[in-house]
């Protein structure tokens, strides 16, 4: 009996990601969720600009490549045109929390019935490791070579907490994928974010605290530790909004 294999909602294309990059794990969790919910044929994904720009090659469903930060607006257009399709966007921190912040907040406020997978690895990976809106205080990047200084570079943005101030979202959760139990939790959250859309419940976003060994300048294993030691204290895991849970209480 096969207990684990590549999900069929992933194509055979080989991921271009660096060794140990958690994009691959999250791609797989999204694809597993699509498979298990039986929605591959009616799912449309939106890829961002950033490291996962080529995600359209990896997901076997129909895909659209969006301009930097605009994936939630593109997803909105698709969902309004085809309300019975399942629409998700897959975005990094530069895309979602910096250039696309206006689209992110407004789409959440509208309670748009879409699913957003948000990869927070505190850095711009594709362009070679610049400071992200989620970069940590003191974090050394190409554009904060002396460490992020709040005096001139401000503070990291916590997306789940920020969106939880809005009435629009149905579901907001922060997970990570740096250990087997964490991956299992992340899978549950991602699947729920799709299930919510199927049930017409509205805006669901899962923030995945992720790694970037290459631009953090550490090994893949050290990156997983870095998540525990540096990222989680700044970005606590948990469910920040779950309307159906609140209603059942």
């Amino acid at each position: 009996m096969i207990v684990f294999d590549k999900p069929k909602s992933l194509t055979d294309a080989v991921f271009h990601y660096c060794p140990g990059c958690t994009h691959g794990i999250v791609h797989r969790l999204v694809a597993e969720s699509i498979d298990e919910l039986g929605i591959e044929g009616r799912t449309i994904g939106i890829a961002p600009v950033g490291c996962s720009v080529l995600a359209y090659n990896y997901f076997a469903c129909d895909m659209i490549e969006a301009a930097h930060g605009r994936a939630p607006a593109v997803a909105t257009g698709v969902k309004r045109a085809l309300p019975d399709r399942i629409v998700f966007s897959y975005q990094g921190d530069g895309d979602l929390a910096s250039i696309g912040m206006c689209e992110t907040v407004s789409t959440a406020a509208r309670g748009e019935n879409i699913t957003i997978i948000f990869i927070n690895n505190a850095i711009y990976g594709m362009t070679g490791g610049q400071m992200a809106p989620t970069s940590l205080i003191g974090q050394v990047t190409q554009t904060s070579p002396y460490g992020r200084d709040p005096k001139t570079q401000g503070y990291p943005i916590r997306i789940c907490e920020l969106l939880a101030t809005l009435d629009g979202p149905e579901y907001l959760a922060r997970v990570t994928v740096n250990s087997v139990p964490h991956v299992r939790q992340a899978k549950k959250a991602i699947k729920k974010a799709f299930q919510n859309q199927i049930e017409g419940k509205g805006f669901s976003l899962v923030e995945v605290v992720s790694s970037c060994p290459t631009n953090w300048g550490v090994t893949p294993l050290e990156a997983m530790k870095w998540i525990d030691e540096k990222m989680i204290p700044q970005y606590p895991l948990g469910v920040y909004r779950d309307r159906s849970e609140e209603a059942s209480r």
């Binding site: 096969i2 207990v3 684990f4 992933l10 060794p19 797989r28 294993l221 997983m224």
Partner: protein, 68 residues
Amino acid sequence: MAKLTFKEELCKGCGLCVNACPKGILALAKNRLNGKGHAPVELTDPDACIGCASCAIMCPDCVIKVER
């Protein structure tokens, strides 16, 4: 009896699976590289594998198939 199958050419030698294995029976190859130039993962003691799939769960590149 559990069985692991590796799509070795997809392996990037990141070692996340090695670290995840509760039995400590995975290792990166010491004397060879795959076509991409990475030292691929190897099973050192196939009989000891319990088929828990921890390795596959942590693999970012869908290298590992697990059967039980």
